[in-house]
């Protein structure tokens, strides 16, 4: 009976490993692109967690005093929901279970973590999370794209990733769990011409006259090139 008086292990994590890509853009920054429908957000995993429980941390583990799984952002057919497992507010309102996210909504998690939810393009369901407070994962990330169908990179505000000095738009398109790159610009992928579009694999470098970015699977971050 004493078992009832103990906390159960908070574990279970959505199966998303490998579905998070990282884009490094010259002169712009580093963005994470998540392709899954449920993205969990939480604090850092405990350093003592050993291989039997490697998945205790959230998909987006922020260095903060959040719970290990503090909230989940869920993409539905029409929009996005925030499911709170800990203290959370959306646009100043407490979230008891879930709340819908509209463009511009301010997400506050715990005492101090603040994000802004943006859906810059009316044509795409994809969304972006901007960091408002200075809490980040272990390394600097400039934004987080929740990829539904397409992710637009380009000079205007309607793009998911705004790259002010670029001559035109580049599109990352999701096709059956694969990421494709399309653009009207003269671009190359690893030196080959982009043409009408190419599938991107982890480690590919897309470059053009005034732009260059590299995409990689998350988790490859710490590997050196030895």
């Amino acid at each position: 009976m004493l078992g009832f008086f103990r906390h159960p292990l908070i574990a279970t994590r959505s199966e998303t490993h490998g579905a998070m890509s990282v884009v490094w853009i010259d002169g712009i920054g580093c963005f994470w692109i998540s392709q899954v429908e449920r993205v969990t957000i939480g604090g850092p995993g405990s350093p003592s967690s050993k291989p039997p429980h490697p998945r205790e941390t959230a998909d987006i583990a922020i260095l903060s005093d959040l719970k290990r799984r503090h909230a989940t952002i869920v993409r539905t057919g029409e929009g996005y929901l925030l499911e709170a497992h800990g203290a959370a507010r959306v646009s100043g309102r407490e979230v008891l279970e879930r709340a819908t996210l509209a463009d511009g909504a301010l997400i506050e998690l715990g005492r101090s973590v603040r994000w802004q939810f943006r859906q810059p393009s009316a044509l795409s369901l994809s969304a972006r999370l901007d960091f408002v407070s200075d809490h980040r994962p272990t390394q600097t990330v400039d934004g987080l794209v929740l990829l539904a169908d397409t992710c637009l990179l380009g000079p205007g505000d309607e793009n998911h990733i705004v790259c002010p000095d670029w001559p035109g738009q580049v599109m990352l398109v999701r096709q059956q769990e694969e990421l494709w790159c399309r653009s009207r610009l003269e671009l190359t992928v690893n030196g080959d011409r982009l043409g009408s579009g190419k599938r991107l694999r982890s480690g590919d470098v897309v470059s053009g006259d005034d732009l260059r970015f590299r995409i990689e699977e998350r988790g490859a971050v710490f590997h050196g090139h030895e």
């Binding site: 203290a87 309102r93 470098v205």
Partner: protein, 723 residues
Amino acid sequence: MKFTFGPESRPLDGYTIKRAIARGGFGEVYYALSDSGKEVAIKLLQENLEIELRGVTQCLNLKHTNLVTLFDIKQDRDADHWIVMEYVGGKTLDKVIHEAPQGLPLEDVLAWLDGIAAGIGYLHDRGIVHRDLKPANIFRENGVVKVGDVGLSKFIAPSRRSAHTQSVGTVYYMAPEVAKGRYGKEVDVYSLAIILFELLTGKVPFDGETTAEILMKHLTERPNLGAIPPNLRVVFEAALEKDPQRRTSDVLELARHFRNASRGEVSEPSPVVEQNGADYQEIHAERLRICSQLRGLLDKARELENAADRDRTWGRKQLEVEELLRQAQAIRSNAFVHDERCWDYSAEGTLSSMTAIAAKFRNLATPRLPTLDYADTQPFEQPAASNKPAPRPSPFAKPAPPKSGWDTFCYACGAYVSGLKKSVQAHPLLAWLAAATFFLFTMRYWPGMNFARIGHETTLVWFLIGSVAIFEMFRMISRGFDRLFGPPSPNSTDRAGRTPDVAPFRAAYRVVSPNSVREISWRRRLTELSGSLATAGLATAVVTAVLANVEQFFGSTALIGHFAIGTLLGSWSLLILGKLREGLPRERYIDRMLLAGVGMVVGVALFQLDGWLMIGSLSDVSSTQQSLLSMTGASPSSDSRQLLAESYIAFFATLFGLRRWWWQTDSFRPHRFRVLSVCLTALIGSGAAFAWGFPVLWGTVWAASLSSVVQLAAVWTPREQRR
């Protein structure tokens, strides 16, 4: 932009380039990760002039919050030099100016100015001149301004105009004497003044088509200060003086003049204090004195903070903390009036710690201070004379509560009704008792209720239900008024889902329900439990005493004792179980099963007590004949006027198991005392008693008193203190 190195290349051992950041005046800058994951910015020096390297080497070990930290200088395989430095995210001042073509608001300008002046002032204090101050190498990350490219400036001469050593941008900020090749720290004053000009107006004062044209303007033309606010013009005239000897001599002085002038004060040129001998000693002594004073204040603030964290009295201690902060800020303004050099970085750090503590108190205390609720809607206006930095308008400031429809109604009806509503809200129990008394005295006149014909026990049940009904009706009417005629709630969102950023910040204590999982130490559980158990004893005594005065409820003294012990036993077991499970993840059915189990134990105990006191029967065993037990064949024979053990056990097990008792015992329950809960418990009690052949009156009253006692005794945390 083309960069020499691509992503994932490793020109330096131990660092992997992830992306290019920018091309600076001295070379390409990349964002790189060390093998263990440390993020750094690495800069390739394209011309390895010895003078350049010497400059950087000098600065390698300088430490200041407002300077970008240099980690190391390394050579790659091609003998090129790389500088490894702190990676600073955030925008460059360059971008900020670009986004605000009409200039920045004065507060922002002051924030940038303070950071730059502090960083450059520190450099000057160490005998180093930056020489290449420009918006492109000034950053702001998390509110901290950082000046980069320290020690990197080259010998800039207009004659050497090769494209990649000298970007045009630099020329805009270049002091005239640089062209002559001799310069001191006045160069940085000039550059900073130009940056300030650009921040205020969005344009640089000397612009032109070519580098030569701009340089010529620097040398000869007087700046057009027409776009500058009149009170600031004199500051710019002094700082943009062509002759370095007559220019404002120090960046900190420029910052001070600017700040004073922006407040409309005329600052006297500070007496020239030579930094040597006795004078320096004096300043040093003053610094130490200020520091020790501030430490004292900070220690006090920390003590208050610890005390408040312990007993959660942020509201009561907030004023003391604010007073301490005020004293610290007074010390700061005095120091600045005296000599700004007395105010050093450790003093600034101590002050910012105090500000942080005060901010914490403000956050935690605001919702509980009614005076602040109404008065704090505007950010404070700072008296112009003090040197306090204006506090940012708190995002947690609470709006004035809207006038509700009920309030309007009350206003119409006069203060009497309004007072009545307040007292109902403040003392629900008293209000309920008042309603009950009213009902008691008037019920014989109520239509359709001929109480003469029904027995006393039924009267009591009717009395309970009726009084609660009246009470709830009053509350519902009051709420309905608010909902019908009141203004929309302040939290309502507009169409874009945005709220005005004024709603009280509740995330810190959002956890409000007994279902919230939280950590409570065993020690605290025990302390709270012992208090509750004692209160439960007292409450039981009161309830029993009240009931003992009700005519014909108790037939004998033994019954009084039986009732009291039963109530006490029941409430204690509910409180103990509730406290043990408090804060742990709720398993609804397991909780109910535990409760039911405890109920059975209580039932057994009370049955034993019943036999021991030789009560035999409670009051009306005759009503037990039509019970579930009798239908299942386990009924007592009608002639034996004895209550079965099964009745006891089943009654208490049902009463405990059917009700979610943790909503009454948990310290996070929505209300300290809820009459409706008592009422519902009484209802379930009567139902259970009826079902199991337990005397209905006893079942009802026992359930109601258990619920009241438990709610009165259990610890309750006010909503705003929950965390």
